[in-house]
């Protein structure tokens, strides 16, 4: 029994695709879970229907104002982007912030245990998702896809992930390695920040352009506090994630290739040269 468990653990730890049997169970369980989630949503909606009318009116007005503002900003952004493109072409720089496509998905189940915050979303390889794609909520980075079945995907949250993400502070561009911090459940820690980095509490941390699976510039969270390591050479910081892991319903999955592949860069470069 023990040998069987250990063998299963070793074989299943880092595989590409779930097995046929898991996929079959996926076909049975995923519809049930979506149904359940839908029922829960419906009950909540019905309960809040009358309570919400006044609040919604107010919110609607606010949102309309915001939309106007955002539209104005967007048009300005478009202008800046075109200017940026022109200047980039002048400098013959490659475009690091490539466009990416997003797929929206609904969370249908959360981890049964209390230790981790992994969850299941209702899109899988049928919708073009793959292992290691980045998952976002409206507030910030949530995690990455750990395993991709046919009609479901298992997402591993950044607050429980022992694989490191390279992050950097927006203000000072100091780089560190972010992992989940289980000694304070619900937060992350950023390690190996160089000793002379000028990072302070409250700094915003985003993904850096060193990562191969996350696009640069996604918000991760804010620095809660900073300590010096016992070796005195590096610092580590505790990060409060921007995403709210308790109350998430919908997430976005970002697909695209962000690795610094020299051949790809070369190809893109030659493309842009041809364009202009």
């Amino acid at each position: 029994m023990i040998i069987f468990c250990i063998a299963a653990a070793m074989l299943s730890a880092d595989r590409e695709y779930p097995t046929f049997i898991e996929n079959t169970f996926g076909f049975i369980i995923v519809p049930l879970q979506s149904l359940n989630a839908a029922i829960a949503d419906h009950i909540e909606d019905a309960a809040n229907y009358f309570k919400d009318v006044d609040r919604l009116k107010e919110e609607n007005n606010e949102l309309k104002e915001q939309l106007l503002l955002q539209n104005a900003q967007l048009s300005r952004m478009e202008y800046l982007k075109s200017e940026n493109d022109r200047l980039n072409a002048l400098l013959q720089m490659d475009n690091k912030y490539t466009d990416f496509t997003t797929v929206s998905a609904k969370i249908i189940a959360k981890d049964p245990g209390n230790w981790y915050s992994n969850f299941i979303i209702d899109k899988g390889s049928d919708d073009g998702l793959q292992k290691n794609m980045a998952v976002l909520s409206g507030d910030g980075l949530v995690g990455r896809i750990k395993e991709c079945g046919k009609n479901y995907s298992k997402v591993i949250a950044i607050i429980g992930d022992s694989n490191a993400i390279t992050g950097q502070s927006i203000r000072t561009e100091d780089i560190g390695y972010i992992t989940g911090d289980l000694s304070d459940i619900g937060s992350c820690k950023m390690e190996y920040i160089s000793f002379d980095a000028e990072i302070i509490e409250g700094d915003e941390i985003v993904t850096s352009n060193l990562s191969t699976i996350f696009p640069p510039g996604l918000k991760i969270g804010y620095v809660k506090n900073i300590h010096t390591d016992t070796n005195g050479l590096t610092k580590f910081a505790q990060i409060e994630p921007a995403a709210d892991f308790r109350h998430m319903e919908n997430v976005l999955v970002i697909s695209g290739d962000f690795s610094d592949d020299p051949e790809k860069d070369f190809a893109e470069n030659s493309d842009t040269q041809n364009d202009y």
Binding site: M1, I2, F4, C5, I6, A7, A8, A9, L11, S12, A13, P18, I21, E22, F25, I28, I29, L32, Q33, N36, A37, A40, I108, A109, K110, D111, P112, G113, N114, W115, Y116, N118, I120, K146, K154, I156, S162, L182, S183, I185, G186, R246
Partner: protein, 170 residues
């Protein structure tokens, strides 16, 4: 019939555990229905059946949620077997004893889970994990056990009645 009912309860447990239980969690801790189901089966029937039930419950949970397969399989099988062995000499209509066993089983399960998955990553602050996760879940599971155990007891009565009838016919 019994196997079909077991399979059905496994799936219902997993679905409920991963969807509805999130909304009745207290301080971020939710009870573990799957664990209480395994303890109920092994108390009501016997250790061997509990172990088999635990094996498949763990396999299902591991397939869907864990980072690797094997941890929950081992823990649920282990708990299923030993709860049955402990409960052998007690009346199963008594509710207090299963509650105690569920509490003990939850403690063992979470403690071993901590050692296998968390301690080896370098998190040694056991007092924090005890107060934050393990002890609240022990209490919550013991309370959830009252409801779950009653349901399983009724279901088992019905199933045993059917099986008795079947044996008379043949």
């Amino acid at each position: 019939m019994r196997i079909f009912v077991y399979f059905l309860t496994l799936i219902i447990n997993l679905v409920l555990q991963s969807t509805f239980l999130e909304s009745i969690s207290l301080a971020g801790i939710k009870p573990n229905l799957i664990l209480t189901a395994v303890v109920s089966v092994s108390c009501i029937r016997n250790g061997e059946e509990g172990a088999a039930y635990g094996f498949f419950a763990g396999l299902l949970q591991d397939c869907f949620f864990s980072n690797y397969i094997g941890c929950c399989v081992f823990l649920y099988t282990f708990i299923g077997y030993f709860c049955g062995a402990v409960f052998k000499n007690f009346y199963r209509e008594n509710f207090i004893m299963p509650m105690g066993i569920a509490a003990a089983a939850t403690f063992v399960y979470e403690f071993l889970y901590y050692i296998i998955n968390i301690l080896l990553l370098g998190y040694t602050d056991i007092i924090y994990f005890m107060c934050r996760i393990i002890l609240p879940e022990v209490v919550y599971n013991a309370l959830a056990m009252i409801i779950v155990y009653n349901i399983y007891l009724k279901a088992n009565e019905y199933l045993e009645e059917r099986e008795k009838y079947k044996r008379k016919v043949f």
